[in-house]
Symmetry: C2
Subunit: 355 residues, 2 copies
């Protein structure tokens, strides 16, 4: 039942951790991106985004991603020397063009514009395309919700590169894990926010399980014949992740694929994203909305837990609690990850001094 969390803790137990103060690691990772050729502003924005994901306990989207981004810059998959650009297409769509760069600054730009336009006309739709990895989607929708907006972001696409998930009823990996995030201004403790893959598990867990020599939770993976398996190796032998909720996760993933690939059209880097933002202030005063939301959230927090659970959580609160608990102490990275980041940083510094 608690499939993803089980896998998460498995990863956490795998090796010792070293705790680095937030400022120190942001500065170091920022330096990595600068040495790769990103602007000072983008370097800092990306480093802060990744550090925040780590602080939130979202390790899969945290600082270790800087290693992947460095590889992707080195291989030419992403470009470091570009700035995202806001434009109105010939047909009249508002689009943030990531210019083949990293997706995080493009998402920041899109959220600012989304809130500006929604504030003016009540609702906005913005596409984000030609971007590499966009980081933790929920950070962006939540930022809009903190400003009083309901924010929905979905997409992904790029199935030709990311065939990971079988359609419901099928036994071949055909679709990416195309995620959805929705954030809405909530009660006293901040927005309610979720950010999930439409597959039973995100692709990263298969790599994590393989590397840890662990079996996956039951009923999330099928082998090449379509039979349920717990062996991560089966994935690499033609298997597929199953869609979350059967036909429901499949339908969500397919809608996202059509949006990213058919609505937004071919892109240079990864797929594309659609951001829909609604000004909640048009409906009710913020205080009235917050009061009624708090009533709902409070009821849920007081729901008696099911066997095997401690409590009912409000989506988005776990991340905020984790951030609150950890931010003064620093970020606890797996030793191996920290070593890899240090080595990368030193190598790039040396190259810069030499060059």
């Amino acid at each position: 039942m608690d499939e993803v969390f089980e896998t998460r803790s498995k990863l956490e137990l795998a090796e010792k951790r070293v705790t680095i103060p937030v400022d120190e690691i942001v500065s170091l990772v920022s330096g990595i991106f600068e040495n790769i050729g990103c602007s000072t502003e983008i370097s800092r924005q990306v480093a802060e985004h990744l550090a925040d994901a780590s602080l939130c306990g979202m390790e899969s989207h945290g600082l270790m991603r800087c290693l992947q981004y460095a590889d992707q810059f080195a291989s030419g998959y992403m470009r470091p020397d570009v700035e995202p650009e806001l434009k109105i297409s010939e047909r009249g769509a508002t689009i943030v063009d990531g210019k083949g760069g990293i997706g995080i600054p493009a998402m920041h730009l899109a959220i600012d514009e989304a809130c500006r336009v929604a504030g003016k006309q009540g609702v906005s739709a913005i596409a984000i395309s030609n971007v590499g990895h966009t980081g933790r989607l929920g950070a962006f929708t939540e930022a809009a919700a903190e400003r009083g907006f309901l924010c929905i972001c979905f997409g992904g696409g790029g199935r030709e590169k990311w065939r990971q998930v079988a359609p419901y009823g099928g036994r071949q990996a055909m679709l990416p894990t195309n995620p959805y995030s929705i954030a809405v201004p909530g009660g006293e403790r901040g927005p309610m926010m979720f950010d999930f893959a439409t597959s039973k598990i995100a692709g990263g867990w298969i790599y994590a399980a393989r590397s840890a020599g662990a079996r996956l939770p039951d009923n999330v993976l099928m082998d090449a014949e379509g039979n349920v398996t717990r062996d991560p190796e089966d994935y690499f032998l033609g298997g597929a992740i199953m869609p979350s909720g059967g036909h429901k996760g499949y339908a969500l993933a397919l809608a996202a694929e059509i949006v990213a690939e058919a609505l937004l059209g071919p892109t240079e880097t990864e797929g594309g994203w659609l951001l829909l933002t609604v000004d909640c202030g048009r409906y009710r005063e913020a205080s009235a909305m917050q009061r009624d939301a708090e009533e709902i959230l409070d009821e849920l927090r007081n729901c008696p837990p099911a066997p095997g659970f401690d409590r009912v959580e409000i989506p988005g609160e776990r991340e905020r609690e984790h951030r609150m608990m950890t931010k003064d102490n620093g970020i606890a990275l797996p030793q191996k990850t920290w070593r890899q980041i240090e080595v990368l940083s030193q190598r790039l510094e040396a190259a810069r001094s030499a060059g």
Copy 2:
């Protein structure tokens, strides 16, 4: 795995059917609503909507609903003598006020306005509130997609009346089955459309299983202690439906509850709905979008099936295929349902003649 479909076919085997020509039943059901006091136009619109849901094979949202609507009009839960009204609220939100009437004409009005505004400014947000049952949500989002729009509808709310689903990690029914529907212009065979409850099964299946004396599929229902059960009676003894996809369905349901109850605020009848509509023509020419969508859909249709499945389906196509296959022959209703509709019709006719 195929939980809902198993339950569906169980219902279909329960009793003999009688086939009624579409015109005949639309006219009869339309007469029922007229005799209750609905306008001629609304009566016809509702009857046609329900008949179409039956033609699509969506029996849970089909003609049998006219019996429920008649009861709800009789009890005063819904009002027959009202027309939905499009208005701009004091704060600037576009709202279709259903005036406590049936939701189907309100949704029709909302879709027309949603497409008109999205055609003008690229995107629209419309709330629908103070409505009774809104029929088959997917019929509305699909209608917008047929006109070239991406359309998202979600909401529900009214948990104080509809505590059916446990939050993830909890063991008490607290939330309604708050559904989501998304439709997007797709390939050659029409839009891709889905319309699903955020719970593992819709509430209606519990009543269907109880009435049929059948057990429910495994892993969809918990008893009052939070243990999985297949006995529908456990639901009525303090049990709860489980959220689809665990924390994912729960998060979707909660976002919908906050939108319906906190964003839109208190309503007179059931909860409320939010409709977000995007003009796809702003992004790409319809033919280019259709070509790329068809490529995705065609790949999926050709995915080798998993054990126990015949094929991979495209969400929305099953309903269209069912309609194509049945519309010339008429609607096959369970004998008992047809008898109840006839009796209701005769009783109302007699009352009108007498009155």
